[in-house]
């Protein structure tokens, strides 16, 4: 049995213009955190439906993990990613897109994305990202100790 480590509630920001996508992602994040031996299980969720609302929520909440859709109605997710990384360089940002072109992937990495999910969502994709986040967060805790 894995030891649960309670550090503090982590904050997750979900940015997608479609409410159904955000709800689906949140539901599956909660389910995966509960059932897949992940260490960190306490979260607060925040949501945004466009770039301007995402920027405001990010500034107010300073989330640890962000799922950021690349195609937003009022701006590019890549531009938003750059601003997030300026504000909080250690934020773990997962880019989400229906289009995994080389251009999108390279631009995401260059702007500081930690990972990339290609829509449609699958639990395997989300779980892979959560395991990456766990390793990343473990390292951060060690650095900050």
């Amino acid at each position: 049995m894995q030891t649960k480590i309670k550090v503090r509630d982590q904050k997750i920001l979900l940015v997608d213009d479609l409410d159904y996508n955000r709800q689906l992602l949140r539901h599956n994040l909660t389910a995966l955190f509960s059932h897949n031996n992940l260490k960190y299980r306490a979260f607060s969720y925040f949501q945004a439906h466009n770039a301007s609302s995402a920027l405001l929520t990010f500034s107010q909440q300073s989330p640890d993990l962000v799922f950021l859709d690349i195609e937003l109605p009022d701006g590019s997710g890549i531009d938003l990613l750059k601003r997030f990384k300026q504000q909080k360089p250690d934020c773990f940002v997962v880019m989400v897109s229906g289009v995994s072109t080389l251009e999108n992937v390279k631009a995401s990495i260059a702007a500081g994305a930690a990972s990339f999910i290609v829509k449609p969502f699958s639990a395997d994709k989300i779980l892979a990202v959560l395991k990456q986040f766990e390793r990343f967060y473990d390292k951060q805790i060690k650095v900050n100790l």
Partner: protein, 204 residues
């Protein structure tokens, strides 16, 4: 075990597929590093076999991009030359001999697949959203508002598959691949065909 086989040599790929499938492996074949990245990010494959020299994007760059994105599944290089870059789990020397490849593959494990949970009420809500969007698309088509039309179709492509509406997602994907290069006079018939196909799909 599901293998992703990235190789631009068609004959080699066909031979590998035949041998691997006979031994019980499922093989997805892609011809370049760009396609390998797109497939890898679906997380449907337990292991990637990556040729080093490929068009569009070579195997080393593809591996490096995947690792930068935190991709943690095994990537095996295939090359006649020495491969010194870090990031590969193993290097297989070309020419490949299936029995040797099979012996090496035995050290890797399958990744258990987890099913996406789609609550019934959420799926119902999404289906209503699609039905309303189809009505909206009819209006947009009649007014020739093509950028708005394409934006909604793009949203279908990204979201419909997550809610189990794979047909709608696939139709949206097909629509997108040809739409931008389509002459203006062909946009209405193409849009009408798309809407007819969507309506023919069983949503519930």
């Amino acid at each position: 075990m599901n293998l992703l086989f990235a190789e631009d040599d068609v004959l080699l790929a066909q031979l590998f597929q035949l041998q691997a499938q006979q031994s019980g492996y499922a093989v997805c074949w892609v011809e370049n590093g760009d396609a390998a990245i797109q497939q890898a990010l679906t997380y449907q494959h337990d292991l990637i076999l990556m040729d080093v020299q490929m068009p569009i994007l070579d195997g080393i760059s593809a591996m490096q991009l995947l690792r930068q994105l935190g991709f943690d599944r095994p990537i095996v290089a295939m090359s006649a030359e020495e491969v010194t870059e870090t990031g590969f789990d193993l290097v297989l020397k070309k020419p490949l001999h299936w029995q040797q490849v099979q012996q090496q593959l035995a050290q890797f494990e399958e990744f258990p697949s987890v099913a996406l949970q789609v609550p019934a009420e959420l799926k119902e809500g999404y289906i209503c959203h699609v039905e309303q969007s189809l009505k909206q698309l009819e209006q947009l088509a009649s007014q020739g508002m093509w950028s708005e039309f394409a934006a909604i179709v793009h949203q279908f492509k990204g979201s419909a598959g997550s809610f189990g509406l794979d047909h709608i997602s696939e139709l949206a994907h097909q629509f997108q691949t040809s739409w931008n290069t389509l002459p203006t006079e062909q946009k209405l018939p193409r849009a009408t065909w798309f809407l007819e196909q969507c309506k023919a799909c069983k949503l519930k």
